[in-house]
């Protein structure tokens, strides 16, 4: 880590998503004294995934600090600090370890603006490393996004590449509203060529990652690379698949998603979470309601099964891979068109 923070870096460089997130935190902290980072092991250690690496050394232990090991305490204290002029960015160590904070998140983080008729806003970010694919043990691999997406008052954002991780975290910290920032931990170490100075759409906008004409794959977070790989394989088999990356689950970008689906007339939603009552279900409902007359087949899902997340040796059974995605694509009633 270099010791100086740079803002709006221009030029291409190779970064992992973890480094891009770290850069976003450093830039936001350098720009705004009210940005404070805290949680478990985020200080000297730099976080178990090193996202907060070097922040305490650079900004001091009043700006980036370790807390007692209690997630409700972390989020509850962040609520109070946000009420009193700060912009807390808190880290939940793993998806399932955020559950002790559930009451604070759903009853206070999400509702304070509404409760006070906008007299109190809570500009805070709750960072949650989530989802599987890293061979994690129990409680380390949940896809918990639906809990937060179902709660009015929260923004729920999830990047799928390093550039978006940087852009969206910067936007999340600057947001006047609380953002649940879900980081696909299996993508933390993927190195990419990125231009952190590039203009990218903010929170609430989806992006088309790959153009295609036969069907649309709608994915977010850890499932975007799976969808892109599936599209690559399909192309070799003569089928042209478009890939949409949601980036933001709430607010949901109906405009981009529906325009994409209307252009192809077929869609598959790809997501790791158990499919029942999931974000994927919501996407199917929205697309069906809005694009029914453009659809040549029912919208399908390539998602996780309705089982607790398996142990490492069995996680490949649960995670939707290229085959599950292409099987769903195969089911899109091609014979009828």
């Amino acid at each position: 880590m270099t010791s100086t923070a740079t803002t709006g870096t221009v030029g291409h460089e190779k970064l992992t998503m973890a480094q891009a997130l770290n850069r976003a935190l450093r830039e936001s902290m350098a720009e705004d004294d009210s940005v404070v980072v805290f949680g478990e092991d985020v200080g000297a250690l730099g976080g178990v995934f090193r996202i907060t690496d070097g922040l305490t050394a650079e900004f001091g232990d009043t700006r980036c600090f370790d807390t007692p090991l209690a997630e409700s305490g972390i989020v509850g204290m962040a609520v109070g600090m946000a009420m009193n002029g700060m912009r807390p960015v808190v880290e939940m160590q793993f998806d399932a370890f955020a559950y002790p904070a559930f009451e604070q998140i759903t009853s206070h983080v999400a509702k304070m603006r509404n409760r006070t008729r906008s007299k109190v806003s809570l500009p805070m970010v709750i960072r949650i490393p989530y989802a599987g694919g890293i061979g994690g043990v129990e409680h380390h691999c949940d896809s918990s996004e639906a809990y937060y997406a179902h709660t009015p008052g929260l923004h729920v954002v999830t990047p799928a590449n390093a550039a978006d991780a940087h852009r969206l975290l910067r936007a999340a910290i600057a947001s006047p509203d609380p953002v649940v920032f879900m980081e696909p931990k299996k993508l933390y170490w993927t190195k990419e060529e990125v231009d952190l100075g590039a203009e990218l759409p903010g929170i609430g906008r989806a992006m088309v990652r790959r153009e295609g004409t036969d069907a649309t794959l709608i994915a977010y977070g850890p499932s975007v690379p799976v969808a892109l790989e599936a599209a690559e394989v399909a192309a070799q088999e003569g089928r042209s698949l478009q890939v949409v990356d949601l980036r933001s689950i709430v607010p949901f970008d109906d405009e981009t998603v529906c325009a994409a689906v209307r252009s192809t007339g077929r869609a598959v939603v790809v997501a790791e979470a158990p499919g029942f009552a999931s974000v994927a279900s919501e996407i199917v409902a929205r697309v069906t309601e809005r694009c029914f007359h453009s659809l040549a087949a029912p919208v399908r899902r390539a998602v996780g099964f309705d089982i607790p997340f398996p142990s490492p040796k069995l996680e490949h059974v649960q995670l939707p891979g290229v085959d599950r995605v292409l099987d769903a694509v195969d089911d899109l009633q091609w014979d009828l068109s």
Partner: protein, 363 residues
């Protein structure tokens, strides 16, 4: 970091400065507040009792959807408001409307939730009063955050966070004490131990020697006080606030009091406690003991009492006028305060509601 256990232990008996018969307690370890503070407290007690009586009546008339009364706990309500400076924050619960009003919140704003019109009715920043908390103990952590933020900026703010005996069983109570202690946050936790969590008595919440002892495990000094003695409350809370302001960290204060009325007007307390138990606490009433003491010390006469009562009556009259008004916000506001900028979906849904309501009007 270890602390001397003796500094953390509450006193063997609750601190009492004026006894239930209105006499000064001999050889008390603390000094009485000055005369002006006690006269101000008496006016506050009279106001708080009047608020409880008036709100109870309005609830019976159906003008309030519900009212959780602090009848019997007025000394805690008054002391909690009176020890605050303009810099300090109050974190009240749903039963602390009297404290909220005495802190300075307008009655029309304070009672908006109880009218069933909106979840909170005042600007927390304007009064430095957090929204009254309905979930138990969650607001204690918010108080720690407000206090910690102020301390980081070098401001003199202390947060006074209220909860009841039942809330001490919640996890957030313990996390709040621990976080406040670890970060040396200027917070004073006041537990109004009114003996019941709806129907469940204190014995089912805890077998600790007292609730004030719960601070020991976190390195937070605990103190217990007669919660119906406003003089003792002012002294003990005032000392705790001063310590916190001086950077000496949080303190836990347990006030022994009693909820004289049911949990709310919707509760039937005869299912779980005897009338004679309630009657016993009438003898400990916080108003009569201070009135007796003030009269004995020639600080209160009939004319002054009449003036104090008239002020309280005036507030009650204002409650009747204000709370007869329908202050329900327009339905469109339901979509206006979810996010700073409504999402496209909320814009669509607000239009649906506007359409539904316009058709209702046509019928």
């Amino acid at each position: 970091m270890t602390r001397d256990l003796d500094l953390l232990l509450p006193s063997p008996h609750p601190v009492e400065l004026i006894d239930p018969t209105g006499q000064t307690v001999a050889e008390a370890a603390h000094e009485l507040p000055d005369d002006a503070a006690l006269l101000r407290a008496f006016a506050g007690l009279t106001t708080a009792r009047r608020i409880n009586d008036q709100a109870g009546a309005l609830a019976r008339q159906g003008r309030l959807a519900v009212y959780p009364s602090s009848h019997g706990q007025e000394a805690c309500q008054v002391a909690a408001a009176q020890v605050l400076t303009d810099d300090d924050w109050l974190f009240p619960t749903y039963r602390d409307t009297a404290a909220v009003v005495i802190r300075g919140v307008d009655v029309a704003e304070a009672f908006l939730p109880l009218q069933g019109a909106w979840h909170s009715g005042y600007d927390p920043h304007r009064y430095k009063v957090a929204p009254q908390a309905t979930p138990l103990a969650t607001q204690l952590l918010h108080a720690v955050g407000v206090a910690h933020a102020a301390r980081l900026r070098g401001e003199p703010t202390v947060a006074l966070a209220l909860c009841g005996d039942g809330a001490t069983s919640e996890g957030d109570f313990h996390e709040a004490l621990n976080f406040a202690a670890v970060f040396r946050a200027p917070v004073v936790f006041l537990v109004q131990n009114n003996q019941y969590a709806i129907s469940v008595p204190l014995a089912r919440q805890s077998v600790a020697p007292s609730l004030a002892h719960k601070g020991i495990g976190y390195g937070v000094p605990g103190e217990r006080v007669d919660g119906n003695d406003v003089a003792a409350l002012l002294t003990v809370l005032g000392t705790a606030m001063a310590r916190a302001r001086a950077g000496e960290g949080p303190q836990l204060v347990e006030a022994h009091t009693y909820r004289m009325q049911p949990h709310t007007n919707a509760d039937d307390s005869r299912r779980y406690r005897q009338d004679d138990e309630v009657a016993g606490w009438v003898q400990r009433d916080p108003l009569t003991r201070l009135e007796t003491w003030l009269r004995q010390h020639d600080l209160l006469d009939d004319a002054q009492l009449a003036a104090v009562t008239a002020d309280a009556d005036q507030l009650a009259a204002r409650m009747r006028t204000e709370l007869a008004r329908d202050a329900t916000p327009e339905p469109a506001e339901l979509f206006a305060h979810v996010y700073a900028t409504p999402t496209p979906q909320l814009v669509e849904q607000a239009a649906v509601v506007a359409d539904e309501l316009s058709r209702e009007d046509e019928h």
